[in-house]
Assembly symmetry: C2
């Protein structure tokens, strides 16, 4: 009953029925509207967009998903985060080939048509850049959820199990790695341990019910559940089976984690549990006191999210948020909590626990262990400050 009466307060904000209000729709809707269309866009009133840092080389950079505008767990393909090292290559799928060679019994060259004849699977999976939230390691953290946590997106991916193609090629007993190479101008490469390659990796050609988007590797990419985005090689053209990693640029000079003792961790593929409140979050504002729905996203590279707790008082007390079902492993989980704002300052933060029992650490606890120069794999909690005037800002600035 308490909740019910709180809700009523909110609804009364809008409850002013006048005799003229039934003519709510404007004049413009009294004429027949727009026609059917073959493949159509969103409303011109919708302006949500990826954010990109100003750059003289926008072919090699990152763009960030507007998580503050997201609903549910899916990310529209048009808004999936991007991280390119040499731009998006214009690939004709009829000409594209995947070559599998190296320490195999039967080297293969597969067309897209060959791949689509093979048994496939579909999975709703989060993909997160290893460098997502990299700004949070430093002294100057990002002002909003898009720029701080927006290099994570969730799609339904469809493709062929890599294990099937490797079995067909016949991996030699002494082989232990697969080197994946993209068809972008830099021929981006990553080394994948054979155990993972044979586990649950996909050669993905479908995203959210249609072909991959160009920015996501059209026509073919690796999809490595739970591992940092960079290993999910886009525009995949070559898999070379070897007995050692290639020590490529993007696993030596980048995508390593510099520890306080000066040593760098390499091959830190796994993404850990993470969550962030998307409303209210930095840059938004509240329209007065009353009921709101607090909401956000949680995910873990290790499996399902089991729990998300919310604090409104900067971490002194925590309450459990509601988790939207189905909670899929290694996918976004949407969490929600009805919240009555009393008009006073609040310090809001979420904390996720995954099915392995791992609890998302605070930013401070993470920095204590890892220092400030890791650059990658930041998965600390994020605090937002709500001011009495309704403004919401990054509390860690």
């Amino acid at each position: 009953m308490k909740e019910r009466s709180s809700r009523r307060r909110l609804l009364r904000l809008g409850a002013a029925l006048g005799s003229g209000v039934l003519a709510a729709a404007g004049e413009e809707t009294k004429r027949p509207g727009a026609s059917l269309g073959p493949y159509t866009d969103r409303s011109p009133f919708e302006k949500s967009a990826r954010w990109t840092r100003e750059s003289k080389t926008p072919e090699a950079g990152s763009s960030f998903t507007p998580l503050q505008d997201s609903t549910g767990i899916m990310t529209p393909s048009a808004l999936h985060y991007e991280r390119h090292h040499a731009g998006i290559p214009p690939i004709d799928p009829a000409k594209h080939r995947l070559v599998i060679h190296g320490m195999v019994e039967r080297p293969l060259v597969l067309t897209m048509a060959d791949l689509k004849r093979l048994p496939s699977v579909s999975r709703i999976l989060v993909l997160e850049c290893g460098g997502n939230s990299g700004s949070e390691w430093g002294m100057k953290t990002a002002p909003d959820v898009q720029r701080s946590y927006g290099m994570a997106s969730c799609s339904e991916w469809t493709g062929v199990p890599l294990s099937l193609v490797l079995a067909e090629a016949g991996v030699r007993p002494e082989a232990s790695w697969v080197i994946a190479e993209g068809a972008d101008a830099c021929r981006m490469q990553r080394s994948i341990p054979m155990a993972k390659a044979l586990d649950n990796v996909l050669l993905a050609y479908g995203q959210n019910g249609e072909a991959l988007r160009p920015a996501q590797g059209y026509p073919l990419r690796l999809l490595i559940p739970g591992w940092e985005g960079n290993t999910n090689v886009k525009w995949l053209q070559e898999l070379k089976v070897t007995h050692q990693p290639h020590m490529t640029r993007d696993e030596t000079s980048k995508y390593t984690d510099l520890m306080p003792d000066g040593k760098a961790r390499m091959f830190t593929y796994q993404m850990e549990a993470k969550s962030v409140v998307t409303f209210p979050s930095g840059g938004q504002s509240l329209a007065g006191q009353g009921m709101y729905e607090l909401t956000g996203l949680a995910w873990s590279g290790r499996g399902r999210i089991e729990r998300v707790e919310i604090t409104f008082d900067g971490g002194k007390s925590w309450v459990d948020a509601q988790l939207q079902e189905p909670r899929l492993p290694i996918a976004f989980t949407r969490f929600r909590l009805p919240w009555k704002w009393d008009g006073r300052e609040a310090m809001i933060c979420s904390r996720a626990t995954d099915e392995s029992g791992y609890v998302q650490p605070s930013r401070e606890a993470l920095i204590d262990v890892r220092g400030r120069n890791s650059g990658f794999h930041f998965n600390g909690t994020k605090m937002w400050r709500v001011f009495a005037d309704g403004r919401v800002t990054n509390a860690e600035a």
Copy 2:
């Protein structure tokens, strides 16, 4: 082992590794590619599109999702089927209002901002036009899966439970119906029984992670799980609580089922279990003998799909297809079956069973009971014929 060796046959189609093949990527990918973008489109090589019948009034018609090109269970919002009665109205969400009135204690006028403050839920749900597969009742059935079964699509929908808003308005005890009205030029109306309105109906503003698309009711629609699409009123502007249905145009002259005895069934809201093979399907062709992945979609307005069976011999024998998990209630379920084509003529069809135990009927069995003039709610099976030359056609033409 049998399956393994069959697969090998397929892969060898592509297994011709030459010394030059490692330079698979074309010249065009040796220069930096395209830049990061704010909200981007699919590849220009992708041409999949909704199909629309030629019409002088494309504001009032239907378009069909290209199910033959679909992957997984999600439908891209750009390809969600359409059925409009007076075109797509150009609604400014800041001006849009939802009025709830009639037999209620507290009439309400809600803005979109009001609605977004309320508790919400997200669900992946199929939506199917009551008239989907209408051509299958007749003597001349449609040639391909898009035109025969393509008015069904599956999205993640996010919105506010209608029950919550009705509780807030205070439904009077004698009320038993809700009349929903859209803001399109025809002010499309449907009557919804109160029991369903209080069950699991959503006031949906989110689709696939962003705002509803204009063709899907932007900025607000009803989402009535398992019920014919027409009741899921788009561009929703008014809910009037009453003690009787309004007997509107679209529940009397249309969206009724004419039975062989000359009587018409009204208010036949429920969509029953249904499935169709999307590959191989009419209009496609097979590139020679060997292994293929047969695939398709199944769904039921009553809950989960429990089983999909496939015949290759026109119904003499059936084998179970594999069902992609998670199988969500009232959502598309993707089914798959590795299939070795021996080059002989085949008659291929799928048959779904839902969790209520209901088995999708054959077209003949359905017509036996319902006659040929029902127009709506065709959920019979669909047979495709594969010829020895690889062509696939509608076997029921």
